[in-house]
Symmetry: C2
Subunit: 324 residues, 2 copies
Amino acid sequence: MKTFEEILKIIDIQINKIQWQREPKGLYAPIDYVLSLGGKRLRPALTLMAYNLFADNILPAIYPAIGVEIFHNFTLLHDDIMDKAEVRRGKPTVHKKWNENTAILSGDVMQIIAYQYISQTPPEHLKEVLDIFSKTAEEICRGQQLDMDFESRQNVSTEEYLEMIKLKTAVLLGCAIKIGAIIGNAQNADCQAMYDFGINLGLAFQLKDDWLDVWGNEQTFGKKIGGDILCNKKTYLLINALQLAKGQIGQELNFLLNTDNILPEDKIRCVIEIFNSLKIKELTEEKINLYYKKSLEHLDNVKVDSSKKEYLQLLAKELLQRNK
Amino acid sequence: MKTFEEILKIIDIQINKIQWQREPKGLYAPIDYVLSLGGKRLRPALTLMAYNLFADNILPAIYPAIGVEIFHNFTLLHDDIMDKAEVRRGKPTVHKKWNENTAILSGDVMQIIAYQYISQTPPEHLKEVLDIFSKTAEEICRGQQLDMDFESRQNVSTEEYLEMIKLKTAVLLGCAIKIGAIIGNAQNADCQAMYDFGINLGLAFQLKDDWLDVWGNEQTFGKKIGGDILCNKKTYLLINALQLAKGQIGQELNFLLNTDNILPEDKIRCVIEIFNSLKIKELTEEKINLYYKKSLEHLDNVKVDSSKKEYLQLLAKELLQRNK
């Protein structure tokens, strides 16, 4: 059994091995740039750790794991164009550093390269892995579309929000894990339990992201607190606050969301005060814990020796206690 | 053996069968729109006609053929954003009718759906078909990048131009045909000969496109004559003219390319006069015929009864005699 840290080393070696000095430079240099910015490498790690529950020699799962990571980075690249984001992992986004056309086309080729890595799944599992990967990729696009649709909508329910983050974030964690299980020759029921572990972990993970935007530590979180608040992003926090805020607090919250006549730091401070008065922090933590517990139950149901599950349990715990 | 027209009917039935009334509408409606605009359906037809050389029941090749067509339409969608094209097949492009974000994301999901169709290749050929498809898809992105790079370059050689159109256009014809041959259980040498038939046909096809921009019939061509001339597009015609034009004609051509002080119809007329004086029409027709002949030689080398090749020969002839 390999730890998360050991798995990460293997992934980094593999990613660093890829030669991006290909022609035309304008197409491949942005891919090199995006992949070298790092990130948690959570998804390929989950593929290999899931595989490692069922089999030892992780070689057959490495290329598909890298495929999942390249696909994830492709979605960030295109999402950043659509969201007009200027910074990613502390560096200029591709469409800022180069231009939009470059970001579109390099993203397109990353998606193809992701499929090239996925296609290196051992033949006996190729069709099944391709199918879950494509299904997931399509769901992620649906999640991004819903996210954009929500921006121009007045009311978004918590159920709709949870469905959106499931599609946009959780399914790729579930897929990464399931691919590992499939290649590790796990039984169907175990593949499904592993997928459900990933879905619930992903939901908790994204809610923690929302939580960190407000109660995170600016130094360790790596971005400014309150970014979501400033752009009125309909996070789990704001959606719940809008539902719970009545009377004067409700009026105040609506005023804060609609006024241009306030300093950014004041807006952030006032909205956080409302969140605190409505106990949004506790409510979000409860939901995170609910999904966290559900994820562990699904992992418990997987029919392998429980000692083998410790590294995955530890990783899940660390992900939800993270402050960045 | 099925004729081109019979094959087209089968393809249209299949494409019309696809249900695009899926949620979220903003993601799928543009795909429905793009695919309903029509187009020649040349690529899926080539897949099925190539298959039909080696086997009768075309069922196993239909979904991969549709995948190739969806991929082709995805490239048009994203290319139109990059080229800021406002019209495609006489209708507003997706990024004009909706917006750029919609065009990016709907294109992304089209690429995924293309892979879903390709993945329905019979299992015994799945890996081989996936590999040629992904290789080709990557080459098309490289072709698009080169095309964009050429816009800002002073000098582009005919060799560089031919390499660019090979990547941007010809390889997908080669790939469509090869996929049909592979699924039809053709021998490797025949798959390769079919691919080379497609590459040469594709080169001739794109040069004919350049030719039609100047000497096409406006009514049947469906777009205004001289569009490439107006935007100084480095086509095979212009690149050759720049190489051949000496002395006064050279100065005149350079003046026409660099002045803003001329009516569009005058610029088009004067450049065409220069093309005619340099015999660019004949030179381009020679090159088209060269590739056309090469394509037929490769088709001749395929080891199936020559009577079976008639429909493909006829299609190749019609493509290069087309006036639209």
